[in-house]
């Protein structure tokens, strides 16, 4: 009787929810201790910002500098200037037609900045390189850092269930991961001139959901692989790129595919579409969002299940 009363008292004075919330807080604080990967990520952000700013200053977010006819002819700008020199020689009706054509061409060149910025920077650099790298910098450290330093034992010996520990560290990692990805994207867009704000307004949901899914995936890597950052880099720059660009259904296993599908739909009115829609066969934005959301939940569930069973050796 006395023992059970003592047990009741103990239960009252401690709470699993309080312990879980403290673990989230502790893990969030420990994530703030920038490690090697985070410093690399921040250096890349600084570098990318400078590159974007320089391009903006040089007015390079436009097709005016593109050479056409097999990239060997004059640029669009040069061609327009040369063509306009012969306009006075045209008959009046031809002049009007030519003027209208040149005006339309100039307008297209001016409006092309969004597409150039999207394809040349957002797709090529941000989504293929920066976003996965920034995601993995925090996500692999969240559990992998504790695992490699062997301090994970202190969490595993606390009276918290293992799935709860796994979830807590993921929740603690998310603000950092999302802040770096969405915040970094916002910073880059802010220095991109006219197309930047448009791109941010249209694409931030895709960045957010892709970050979430990448975060869950790389966090899983961190919990179960010895060199999680390397595994995540290999996945991002080989499997994601290869799978994401394969014809057929294989690309549907890549996170980037669904993020791009969301972006294609969001920027449809700006003329953004896959280079070959028939081969690319994008899914709708809504479907892509659900796939990313469910993938995140599934990856978390798989991680929690495996984490409950895994044994961490002393040498781990």
């Amino acid at each position: 009787m006395t023992e059970s009363a003592g047990a009741m008292d103990k239960r009252r004075e401690r709470s699993s929810l309080r312990a879980w919330l403290f673990l989230v807080w502790l893990s969030w604080q420990r994530q703030a201790r920038a490690r090697q990967m985070v410093w690399i990520a921040l250096a890349l952000l600084a570098f990318a910002t400078v590159v974007v700013a320089l391009n903006t200053a040089g007015g390079r977010w436009t097709m005016a500098y593109w050479k056409f006819f097999g990239r060997q002819g004059p640029t669009h700008q040069e061609w327009l200037a040369q063509s306009q020199t012969v306009t006075p020689l045209l008959p009046p009706a031809g002049k009007a037609l030519a003027s209208a054509y040149y005006a339309a061409h100039s307008a297209i060149l001016k409006e092309s900045d969004f597409l150039v910025f999207t394809r040349g920077f957002v797709f090529l650099l941000f989504f293929s390189f920066l976003l996965p790298l920034w995601s993995l910098s925090f996500a692999t450290e969240a559990m992998g850092g504790e695992r490699e330093s062997q301090s994970l034992i202190w969490l595993l010996t606390r009276p918290l269930s293992r799935p709860a520990i796994y979830l807590a560290k993921f929740v603690a990692m998310l603000p950092w991961c999302l802040a770096l990805n969405v915040g970094g994207f916002a910073l880059l867009c802010s220095v991109a001139g006219r197309p930047g704000p448009i791109a941010f307004r249209l694409f931030w949901p895709a960045v957010l959901w892709a970050s979430l899914t990448f975060g869950a995936l790389f966090y899983l890597f961190g919990a179960f692989f010895r060199r999680p950052a390397i595994v995540a880099i290999v996945y991002s720059f080989f499997l994601e790129v290869i799978m994401g660009n394969m014809p057929g259904d294989l690309k549907r296993f890549s996170v980037g595919f669904y993020a791009r599908c969301m972006m294609f739909e969001a920027a449809e009115q700006h003329g953004l579409q896959p280079e070959n829609p028939v081969i690319y066969d994008p899914v709708s934005g809504g479907t892509a969002l659900w796939v990313l959301l469910l993938s995140t939940v599934l990856l978390l569930a798989v991680g929690m299940f495996l984490f409950r069973r895994i044994e961490f050796e002393v040498s781990d």
Binding site: S16, F22, T157, P159
Partner: protein, 364 residues
């Protein structure tokens, strides 16, 4: 009590009670191993262990690789048994309910190094789910118990081994668990600190706690408890009081089997040293501080040289006491130590592989 199967080969031993100082089996067991086996690939870490621990101190002795730490990890829920089950007060050892009842002082020596000792212990208390005030109070109390109150504001990365052991112990005591699993807790502690720790352990045992303390050294545990479980090759080789185990071993000569892999013998290419190897008798390891032989009167004198000569053809028995010199390539045989020896370390050898034999069964 000494289990009837202590000297058997099955290792499936049941200790109906491991309650030193007169406690009886009627007390509910705190920790129960039921035919537990744990494999690491093809290697068996723990082999069919059945064990019940009740309040009191139990020493867990064994050489490196005997399975002590694996047994500890199984009890702490850090490893999953491949066969059998481990329960703490009726809860599966892997459950959060069981962890609430276990204080684990692991072998690993890593912390959140950027924290101070006090911060670390407080953090561990908060992770147990206590409110801030309660956590601070418990942290201070356990720091006082381990003698770290005035030294715990330094960062952990600057701590000595002994101080780190104290912090490890403090975090294990935080939630006042009925079961304490202490993996080599006295390792790296100075003699004064050891006495303090031993006093603390005895005090905890008096408060009805169940302590399982692992060590390589039996002498260390002798000061703490007379109840030990001896592990060898993943099995519980013996359970009971040290005196009882020694008595049983009196009848069974202990010998060292020497298998020589000549390629590994230092100097084997040097003809002047060819065949020279050394076997240091455990007696050398049994001497305590100041050269005092621990419990030497219980042991008959040994005759390593003479015995070695009789079993190792070509061996020169003129080496110093405790040393066997000279044997031809490929020699193998036994060195009779002249009586029962109970040393967790056994013997140390250079250039040869030694294994202690007991009743015909090789022990690692």
């Amino acid at each position: 009590m000494l289990d009837p199967g202590v000297q058997g080969t099955t290792g499936q031993l049941t200790s109906p009670t491991l309650a030193p100082r007169g406690r009886v089996a009627a007390i509910e067991p705190v920790l129960v191993f039921e035919r537990v086996s744990k494999f690491y690939g093809p290697v068996i870490g723990v082999n069919q262990v059945t064990l019940e621990l009740r309040p009191g101190i139990t020493g867990l002795v064994g050489s490196n690789g005997a399975g002590k730490s694996t047994l500890m990890r199984l009890a702490a829920g850090q490893a999953r048994p491949d066969l059998g089950r481990v329960q703490v007060r009726g809860h599966d050892a892997r459950s959060a309910e069981a962890r609430l009842r276990v204080g684990y002082c692991p072998e690993v020596d890593t912390f959140y190094e950027e924290m101070s000792g006090r911060q670390f212990v407080q953090t561990m208390a908060r992770l147990c789910g206590y409110r801030r005030g309660e956590a601070h109070q418990r942290a201070e109390e356990t720091l006082r118990q381990v003698g770290m109150t005035d030294r715990s504001d330094r960062r952990l990365r600057g701590y000595s081994k002994g101080m780190r052991q104290r912090i490890k112990l403090a975090q294990a005591l935080l939630h006042d668990p009925p079961l304490l699993l202490l993996d080599e807790p006295l390792s790296g502690i100075d003699p004064v600190g050891r006495q303090e720790f031993i006093g603390l352990f005895l005090e905890l045992a008096e408060r009805n706690k169940c302590l399982l303390v692992s060590s390589h050294e039996l002498e260390e545990l002798e000061k703490l408890t007379d109840h030990v479980a001896i592990m060898a090759r993943g099995r519980i080789a013996a359970v009971g009081s040290i005196a009882q185990i020694r008595e049983r071993l009196e009848d069974q000569p202990l010998s060292i089997r020497i298998d020589i892999d000549w390629a590994d013998v230092p100097g084997s290419r040097d003809t002047t040293r060819n065949g020279v190897f050394h076997v240091e008798h455990p007696d050398r390891l049994r001497r305590g501080p100041g050269g005092r032989s621990v419990g030497a009167q219980r042991r008959p004198p040994h005759r390593p040289g003479a015995t070695a000569a009789s079993v190792l053809p070509g061996a020169d028995p003129t080496g110093p006491r405790g040393m066997v010199r000279g044997a031809p390539p490929g020699a193998a045989g036994r060195v009779d130590l002249g009586g029962p020896w109970l040393s967790a370390r056994g013997c140390s050898c250079r250039g040869v592989t030694c294994r202690r034999d007991s009743q015909g069964e090789a022990e690692a």
